[in-house]
């Protein structure tokens, strides 16, 4: 079965420093992978998605992620954190059959001033 492991439950960075949120997936086929963000008391918003095209995917708000099949990873990065990036981030994979999403446990990003 498909699964996603987010390696850090909490990440804390200073404003202006790089962000790295780590995600490993397990899948017996070539999955579609996503990163979603959830700000406090807000809905889920798509940051970016990978669907077997370019392995480096650029998303909104300066975020990007690189699909590495050999490492089964899909880490999310941003060169410079902003206070508004503080939120919970979910790495997501599509299930093998059907389009339902399988979510990781989430990483809470804290940005310090």
């Amino acid at each position: 079965a498909q699964s996603v492991t987010q390696l850090d439950s909490h990440v804390s960075v200073s404003e202006g420093t790089p962000v790295l949120l780590r995600c490993n997936y397990s899948s017996s086929y070539s999955p579609s992978l996503f990163w979603y963000v959830q700000h406090p008391n807000k809905g889920l918003q798509l940051l970016l998605k990978y669907t077997s095209a370019a392995t480096l995917v650029k998303g909104i708000n300066g975020f990007e992620a690189e699909f590495k099949k050999s490492e089964t990873s899909f880490h999310l990065t941003k060169p410079s954190a902003h206070m508004s990036d503080a939120a919970e981030y979910f790495c997501v994979v599509t299930a093998r059959y059907g389009n339902k999403l399988v979510f990781g446990a989430g990483t809470i990003l804290r940005v310090k001033s």
Binding site: P31, G43, L46, A95, G98, N99, K100, L101, V102, F103
Partner: protein, 116 residues
């Protein structure tokens, strides 16, 4: 354009009562999904509808949960004889279906259900 809307935004009910949660998807989206977000279980799939196909109910946790989608648009998730463990945020998403996955699912703001 309008996004996915859900109602009510909050629902407090007593144990044993039935509740109905509503989702209005983005116009033209053929696929509609329900997920649940709870502290203990994280985000988990419940059910999805695609066009006229039979819904995928594989994520429903018990037979107290059911959902329907009328006219290929609005969906209602019904929980009968609510239990305290049903307390969670129920999220609805819709998409333009892409066979094999990869469609972007747009999420509504959710309904926060509290069972006393």
């Amino acid at each position: 354009g309008a996004g996915v809307s859900q109602s009510p935004s909050n629902k407090v009910t007593e144990k044993g009562k039935d509740v109905e949660l509503r989702c209005d998807p983005i116009s033209g989206h053929t696929a509609l999904y329900w997920y649940r977000q709870s502290l203990g279980q994280g985000l988990e799939f419940l059910i999805y509808f695609q066009g006229n196909s039979a819904p995928d109910k594989s994520g429903l946790p018990s037979d107290r949960f059911s959902a329907e989608r009328t006219g290929g648009s609005v969906s209602t998730l019904t929980i009968q004889r609510t239990q305290q463990e049903d307390s969670a945020v129920y999220l609805c998403a819709s998409s333009l279906f892409v066979q094999g996955g990869g469609d972007t699912q747009y999420f509504g703001p959710g309904t926060r259900l509290t069972v006393l």
